[in-house]
Structure formats: structure tokens, C-alpha cells
């Protein structure tokens, strides 16, 4: 199997890793049949890739086999943001597979996180919809879900392009990432209605990038206070299990 190294993947702060743990636990409650999970949002840069990557890391740490499929064929940021380094010079990604140029084994990469596998995009395409409509995509997800415990699909924002609706048809459930204080009421409702047409159940939303110190978010006060008390864990490593396992990823 091909291999790649994730060179830039900083460990999360205490509060953030707790939130991702909560999310992963809630995902496991979604049921045994929910294995192919798509992550989308209303706008670009709401934290889809950030969440996908961290869900992958957290689930892998829990001993699950996870495959992250980067399906943002037009504007994928994972490769550059997380500084992926491919072992081979000539690497191929999802776009190559969907175009029928390579086989499944050529695009699934093992990572430096045990239990975590990735299908990168490698080279973006401007017109991705015809590729996603092809039966290859569904075949790939089905085949991966048989081998892995979870298949996380990082989809493009549904508010901007329709790709995610096509991807959802091949998935068991979707997660909508909602950025704090930036998504208007109707925008999320539109995305929800669009997803409902695909008959892929919406598992729920994730409220991302919440500012706890905002006066409007008094509801979160207790939570922020709680995490503040434990922030000592962030600054002094090698104290407690949590940081020890985080340090491994560095």
C-alpha cells in the first residue's frame, strides 16, 4: 500500500479535543450501519477539513480503522494545510480513480497515524460533478466501508456547489459544520432541505469556532470556565494520559 506522511498536524487544545471526543462518541451512537459519513457546510472555510482530520485522528486513537476520503475535487486544502508528503514521486488521487485511470489500491494511502488511511485529491479538477456521478465513486465508498470501521468523506460546501448532494447519495449520514456567527438562518435551512432531497439522513450539526468570551454566548460560560481550569494540561506536557497520547502525533 502507498504511504503518506502528515507533516503538519498540531495537537488540539484541551477544550477542542474534548469537543471532538464528544462528536466521535455521538457518531458511534448513530448506529452500526452508519459507516460512510459525509461532512459538509454552507460556506467554504467553515472547518470541514479541520473536523474531518480530527475525527479521523480521534477515531483511529480509539482503535478504529478510518479512511478519510477527500472529495473536495475543486478546491481541496488538506494537502497543503496539513503538509501531506507522499512517499512516491508520482502520486495519484481520487480524481485519477474516478476518471478510471488507476485502481482503488493506488489511491488509498496509509498515514503516520496507525489505523488512519487517506484518499487524497492530489490534483484538483474544475468540473467535478461528472466524476462524482460516475458509479466508480459509489463503488469506492462501498468497498472502503467493508474494509474500514468508518469512512469520512470531506465534501465541498453545499451552499456553494452541488457536489455534496451527489456525494450524499453514496453516504449513510451527513454532518453539517456550522461556523459560529457567520451562517445566516436561511442558508442552513436551504442546505438542510437540499440534503433531505438526497434521502441521506442528517446526523446533526457541529457548531464550530465558537468564541466563549463573547457576551452573547453566556450559555457556554460554564463550559469555558471548566476548560480553563484544565488548560494547565496544554502548557505542561507529560502530565496525564491525554497529553502523552497527543505528543505522539507530533
Amino acid at each position: 500500500m502507498n504511504a503518506l506522511t502528515i507533516r503538519r498536524f498540531p495537537p488540539l487544545s484541551y477544550a477542542c479535543s474534548e469537543a471532538v471526543n464528544t462528536l466521535c462518541t455521538n457518531l458511534s451512537f448513530a448506529g452500526e450501519n452508519v459507516k460512510k459519513i459525509m461532512i459538509t457546510s454552507c460556506h467554504a472555510s467553515e472547518g470541514k477539513s479541520f473536523l474531518s482530520m480530527n475525527i479521523m485522528r480521534t477515531l483511529a486513537k480509539l482503535g478504529k480503522t478510518v479512511v478519510l476520503v477527500d472529495a473536495d475535487l475543486r478546491r481541496s486544502m488538506i494537502s497543503s494545510k496539513y503538509a501531506l508528503q507522499f512517499e512516491q514521486e508520482q502520486s495519484s488521487g481520487l480524481a485519477h480513480y474516478l476518471a478510471g485511470m488507476v485502481s482503488e489500491n493506488d489511491i488509498v494511502y496509509s498515514t503516520n497515524i496507525p489505523g488512519a488511511y487517506m484518499v487524497p485529491v492530489d490534483r484538483g479538477v474544475s468540473n467535478s460533478l461528472p466524476l462524482l456521478v460516475s458509479p466508480h465513486f459509489d463503488e469506492l465508498l462501498t468497498s472502503l466501508s467493508k474494509k474500514a470501521d468508518y469512512v469520512i468523506v470531506d465534501a465541498p460546501p453545499l451552499g456553494a456547489i452541488i457536489d455534496a448532494a451527489e456525494i450524499a447519495k453514496s453516504c449513510d449520514g451527513t454532518l453539517i459544520v456550522v461556523n459560529y456567527d457567520s451562517v445566516r438562518r436561511q442558508e442552513l435551512i436551504n442546505v438542510k432541505e437540499q440534503l433531505e432531497q438526497t434521502e441521506c439522513p442528517i446526523l446533526g450539526t457541529v457548531l464550530n469556532m465558537v468564541k466563549f468570551d463573547n457576551y452573547l454566548s453566556k450559555k457556554y460560560y460554564y463550559k469555558s470556565y471548566y476548560s480553563y481550569g484544565y488548560s494547565a494540561y496544554d502548557k505542561t506536557p507529560h502530565r496525564g494520559k491525554n497529553t502523552a497520547s497527543k505528543a505522539k502525533d507530533k
Binding site: I176, V178, Y180, D181, S182, R185, T205, K211
Partner: protein, 90 residues
């Protein structure tokens, strides 16, 4: 036709303070106007801001459950909000 020579009946008093502009009145008026305008703009912005801020908002308007609330990760993350202004997020 002969008339009386004009004579002074009373000497006009020169006020010590200018009649207009009335400083106290204008300052007071300005303060009230400024307050009303400020409160008005803030209220208008708050009313027109219908973005999602809590899990409760999401449940109320879309009926979807929120599986997790993730705080902002990078403490010195300078991001641009929807108005295009750079805001330093803590």
C-alpha cells in the same frame, strides 16, 4: 415741518453671553441625538444579524441536533468576518 430732536430714551444692554449658539442646549441636543443614533444602529444590526450562535438556535430554526460545540482553536487566529473586516479572534 419741525420735529423734536431725537434723544436717547434708554441705553441698550449688551448681553454678556452670546444669544446664539446656545452651548448647553446644543451639547445636550448632540448627546441625545448621538445616543439615539448609536442605539438605533446597534439595534438594527442586532435585529438583522440572524446567524447561528448556539446549539439552541440551530435546533429552533432547523430542527437539527448539534452533536458537538467546538471552540475556536487558534488563539491568535486573525480571520475575516463576513463584513470583510479583519477581526482578531481570541
Amino acid at each position: 415741518m419741525a420735529t423734536d430732536k431725537p434723544n436717547i430714551m434708554s441705553v441698550a444692554l449688551v448681553p454678556a453671553n452670546p444669544v446664539s449658539p446656545n452651548k448647553t442646549k446644543n451639547i445636550l441636543l448632540g448627546m441625545i441625538l448621538g445616543l439615539v443614533l448609536g442605539v438605533g444602529v446597534i439595534t438594527l444590526r442586532m435585529i438583522s444579524n440572524d446567524t447561528y450562535k448556539t446549539a439552541e438556535d440551530i435546533r429552533k430554526y432547523t430542527g437539527l441536533v448539534t452533536l458537538a460545540v467546538v471552540p475556536i482553536e487558534n488563539e491568535n487566529d486573525v480571520r475575516k468576518n463576513k463584513n470583510g473586516r479583519a477581526v482578531k479572534r481570541k
